[in-house]
Amino acid sequence: MPEVDLGVTPLRELNAALHRLTPETNERHWVIDHPAGRHAIAAGLNVPVTIEINGPVGYYCAGMNKYATVLINGSAGVGVAENMMSGFVHVTGDASQSAGATGRGGLLRIDGNASSRCGISMKGIDIVVKGSVGHMSAFMAQAGNLVVFGDAGDSLGDSIYEARLFVRGSVKSLGADCVEKEMRDEHKRAIHQVLTQAGFDGEVDPSEFKRYGSARRLYHFHVDHAEEY
């Protein structure tokens, strides 16, 4: 089980070593110490290994992650798991802006709060936030599920496409073309599925969530909606 101290080993060396791993590697569990808020830690992983990071990370941790499991025991900076393709990223602390931005697959779990623009432009990633999310979350969200146990800030789902937003707490305001929608059994099942994958085991009742999504009025330009563009 390789253990790397970022106070000693340059980040470039660590990332290069991680990129050299093959799917058949024996080094399946890495521990990274003293990240001290550095950027791009474990970015571009593409093998099904586990990386455990002890401490707070800077921007773009686990950026473009594919197949890997990244556990961040601390808080994460801007763009954690940005453009993730697959795999699992778990932040035990808070996440800064643009968490899961443009993510195309995989699962991002944040135990603390996520700041503004959580799930911006998401394209298939699933995001679970135990705390609350900040303003402009799910901006232009195209696909995937955002599940928030706490509250959502202003302009949730502004200019949203087909992503599904589930919020248990209050929503400060909804963005352009984002509306509350009916919660049906299929949606509760979807929440349950995402939560199970994220490691929850019945602690949370899917029926406590409200669903938000696109009213689809902006799909074809019409002058009467000009102000919403």
Binding site: A36, G37, R38, P56, G58, Y59, S75, G77, V78, G93, D94, S96, Q97, N113, S115, S116, G134, H135, M136, G153
Partner: protein
């Protein structure tokens, strides 16, 4: 584009460490701003005395200025810091000193004025700027600092932050205003003077003007949200504390940390990583369009 740091000490026992901690924070922000750096330290003041921080064109010129001031005014104390001189003078003589400086040393610039505030800023990498001024040895109750990557104006000391907005007040900024040229013209008509084309200087002037018209700093920042257009994170230093404001869109980064000993601000978490007790601090990001203040 830039890096901002701020440190407000709740625990007096940390006051001798203020400079050292701030210097560490500033050095981390080099990447965001390699062009120039500056900081304001709120050190001990003396009742009845005002401190003026004056920036000269060279360390030699600063020395000469210091000698000349001491000769011209009795009861004055000067402390040399590289190109800057901190002049401490009885309150009743401050106007005379300012007039004297304008007449005798017009090329020198008054960068700060107050009971406790001292401002230092120069072109160069943040760590060398901090070293030149001996930041690591300074003590005080709070400090704000800035590292600059010049966007639309030139890389000169004139463009460096903090900008003073009034007695014991100063401003640092990360972001880019979009209507500062119009605002500058309006403020000039109101009698304010500007030395640079810099947008932050306009923001500082705007706040000064609003307070001159009777608003508190907090209210000036609030109405600033409507009048100042663009992207900004502001950190302002006041005699007793510091304030933080992000614009309504809040794209530019801002991270804060609080413990029993301090409240700290950084453009990135990395800035805060070396502070004592950071592992147990409450860390959060300020909300957009919300004025925050910490004061003793």
């Amino acid at each position: 584009m830039c890096g901002i740091v701020g440190l407000f000490l709740k625990d007096p026992a940390l006051e001798p460490e203020l400079g050292r901690l701030t210097a560490g924070m500033l050095a981390t922000m080099s990447d965001r701003g390699p062009d120039s750096a500056g900081f304001a330290v709120y050190a001990a003041g003396q009742p009845g005395q005002t401190k003026l921080t004056v920036r000269s064109t060279s360390p030699l010129a600063a020395e000469e200025l210091s000698v000349a001031v001491e000769a011209a005014f009795s009861g004055v104390q000067t402390v040399l810091h590289d190109t800057h001189v901190v002049i401490s003078i009885p309150d009743q003589e401050i106007e005379a000193l300012i007039k004297w400086l304008e007449r005798e040393v017009p090329e020198a610039e008054i960068v700060g004025r107050g009971t406790r505030m001292e401002i230092f800023k120069e072109v160069g990498l943040p760590s060398s700027v901090a070293q030149r001024f001996g930041l690591a040895t300074m003590s005080g109750t709070h400090a704000i600092g800035h590292t600059r990557m010049a966007t639309e104006s030139a890389v000169t000391t004139d463009g460096a932050h903090p900008y003073s907005t009034g007695t014991d007040q100063c401003l640092v900024h990360n972001g880019s205003l979009s209507n500062h040229n119009n605002l500058r013209r309006e403020l000039k008509r109101e009698g304010l003077h500007f030395e640079t084309e810099n947008d932050t200087e306009v923001a500082a002037g705007y706040l000064t003007w609003r307070m001159r018209e009777g608003l508190s700093l907090g209210d000036a920042l609030k109405v600033g949200l409507d009048d100042l257009d663009g992207f900004y994170t502001f950190v302002v230093g006041t005699e007793n504390g510091f304030g933080v404001l992000r614009d309504g869109i809040a794209c530019k980064p801002a991270v804060m940390a609080e413990t029993d000993q301090y409240v700290a601000f950084g453009s990135e978490y990395r800035v805060l990583a070396t502070l004592p007790g950071i592992e147990h601090a409450r860390v959060w990001e300020p909300e957009p369009a919300t004025v925050y203040f910490w004061e003793r």
